[in-house]
Point group: C2
Chain length 406, copies 2
């Protein structure tokens, strides 16, 4: 079960975005597993994709099509990742674009394909292509919740975030969905996320906004350290709510949009961690006092990836020695352990590299019993800081991943 | 339970090495938890230690004492790692050396201390020091099996290897023990290992032999990716069986010793993986066709650390897509996935970056059902190769580490 409040908020409509879906029987019958996004003409679209060398066929195709110009359609299937599928996989990803382009009367390069699910099997093309027309027929602007459900794999809950904000008297909307619960780690961790706004933003700034906010959200979460072959995050700006274009970072409206997008992206990213496979706890690892953000990140990830720390969190065992060990092997050079402070919640567990004298097991156990825990580390050597979000490692993680294909 | 044959072999006596042990009640009453090694005068000793910045107090003291000259005694306690213990921890490690030195009439710097167990608690010094005399009183040359049992923590089985070999008509012995089942990863993975021989080898070559063989054994295993604060491996050469000193790598006898030591170290390292926490399978990850051994290692470890690969191995599920994904995110530059071949045992699962056409789930399932599995990867871009050993990730790993302190 997901940790904390993961409820779907009211998903405000984004003008210029329509969503359709269908049951295409990609892997299982009788489930919504095919989703189509339609963007109004003139929509600016930016994307970031997995760094995995074995990136999936649809990722190759989406990157190429995005370079060629703004897409009008996204087509997303769950149940099959179309990764590790060689040339037939590439052909299938392209064929999906061709077919949708033909039905929607656009160029094939105006379609971006996305897939998520099992790696290494070919898509059931006949069933998938047959689902495109019904999905197109169902296009409407209020289907964000259906889309969130339609892209789930091992997720236990659909994931959405939505905000409205005002610029110069005009009300705009920022709405997005994400999916992912396993194979989650930095470098595009989400597996899939789609965010859209009807605010008017120039193409250059759209890409910049996406990169900046992904680095504070999806690139700061980890569940199991496994970088997926399919991770993609798309940000679409329709500009359909009117107003003059925001084309400079010096425009005061830019910082408002940045704030809203950061909140939406962080929420969508954290929802993935809260729904982490087998997760019983939501963990914030905040590292401060570093020379640069890279070393703060290295240490935060070292803690967040340690199976020993994660099982101790699952057991509500304040076994803080495992946290110190993870700090120690993060590979940060010239670390002076005698300057290091560590807190579990509001309880200091490590002072100047050793056990804090006033620390008690009772105080540690009180923090560990909570379902949302912050591990804070001060390296005592600089001003940089960074934060990573993760979950614990439970029996159910093993169960889910040992059973996934059966 | 450990995987495969982990039985203790006949542990041949090493001339010039005596071993004693006692029940000091470091953590639990009525168990052998204190071990002492005594080396004959003139014994050459080499050591390698953890790279963890939070290395334990006894590691600091052992490194310093080893720089000062050859030790005559090792003193090892289990139950408490004396790590993350600050200045009191350093004082306790030194006090242990002083006390043993006083009882044995040597210099304190001729004693190396070792600890393994829970991190972050102070040693029960009164009980530990009281155990030293009984341990000294029990010194005898045939106590290797007792020592292997006396250094165990979460190990389910004591670990030993022993060989005899002949050089110029003289029979020599190489005998060693190791311990460790969790917090195991490269850069001195063993937690603790002690190996001795009575062959005559010069001090310089002792250190070189240790470094060379550690890199093919303890530095090539991983269970959970957690580098311990206490890892140490000691190689002691007593030269007590006679013969002229081996002082050059060109001496034909050197390569004989190197072969024997490599086998003994590999066996001791693999025993740790076979006894990995919750392990049900022993996995060999062999990567070949790389530009250099580093990239072969990077990919082998990426596979060996992936929780998704490890849970699939536990489930006997030939979910080879997870192996491809782990290869893809290993961070190796300019990887041409279309040149990559992957085998599960004798079954080729991936040909030229995609599914092998003749692969069947039945063939994959047959290999995955075995308790010893080799994953072989050919990168198709060079002559380098390297091999890493690991185990699967099971419910019991979580259980053991969620319960360890209770």
């Amino acid at each position: 079960m997901a940790v904390g409040d993961v409820s779907m908020p009211h998903m405000h409509v984004v003008q210029g975005v329509k969503i359709g879906s269908a049951e295409a029987y990609v892997r299982y019958p009788n489930r919504r597993d095919l989703v189509i996004f339609e963007f109004a003409e003139g929509t600016n679209v930016a994307g970031v994709f997995t760094q995995n060398a074995f990136c999936a066929a649809p990722v190759h195709v989406s990157k190429k099509h995005l370079e060629m110009g703004n897409p009008r359609y996204l087509v997303i299937n769950t149940g099959n990742a179309n990764a590790g599928t060689g040339k037939p996989g590439m052909e299938n990803a392209r064929a999906t674009c061709y077919k949708l382009a033909e039905l929607a009367q656009v160029e094939a390069s105006e379609v971006l394909p996305f897939s998520t699910g099992v790696i290494g099997e070919q898509l059931p093309m006949e069933r998938l292509l047959s689902g495109l027309q019904p999905a197109l027929d169902s296009l409407k602007d209020s289907a964000w919740v259906d889309a969130a459900a339609g892209i789930m794999t091992t997720d236990t809950t659909p994931k959405g975030a939505s905000e409205q904000f005002e610029l110069d008297g005009v009300t705009y909307t920022m709405t997005g969905i994400s999916k992912g619960a396993g194979m989650i780690r930095p470098n595009m961790a989400t597996m899939l996320s789609f965010v859209a706004t009807d605010a008017p933003i120039s193409r250059e700034l759209v890409q910049q906004l996406l990169k900046t906010t992904v680095n504070q959200s999806f690139n700061r979460i980890t569940i199991d350290g496994d970088t997926s072959t399919n991770d993609s995050c798309i940000f679409a700006v329709t500009a359909q709510a009117g107003g003059t274009e925001i084309s400079s970072v010096d425009d005061v409206r830019y910082s408002v949009v940045l704030d809203v997008l950061t909140r939406v992206m962080k929420r969508l990213a954290q929802l993935i961690v809260r729904d982490g496979e087998g997760a019983t706890k939501f963990i914030t690892v905040a590292v401060e006092g570093g020379n640069d953000t890279q070393e703060c990140c290295d240490i935060a990830y070292s803690i967040a990836h340690s199976p020993l720390v994660k099982t101790a969190l699952f057991a509500s065992d304040p076994n803080w020695g495992r946290i110190l060990a993870a700090i120690g092997y993060a590979g940060v050079k010239d670390l002076d352990v005698e300057k290091i402070q560590v807190w579990l919640g509001d309880v200091q567990i490590c002072r100047d590299g050793g056990a804090a004298e006033d620390y008690t097991e009772e105080a540690g156990a009180r923090v560990m019993a909570e379902s949302e825990i912050t591990i804070r580390v001060d390296l005592g050597r600089g001003q940089a800081k960074d934060t990573v979000y993760t979950c614990d490692l439970s029996y159910d993680y093993v169960k889910i991943n040992a059973d996934y294909r059966s």
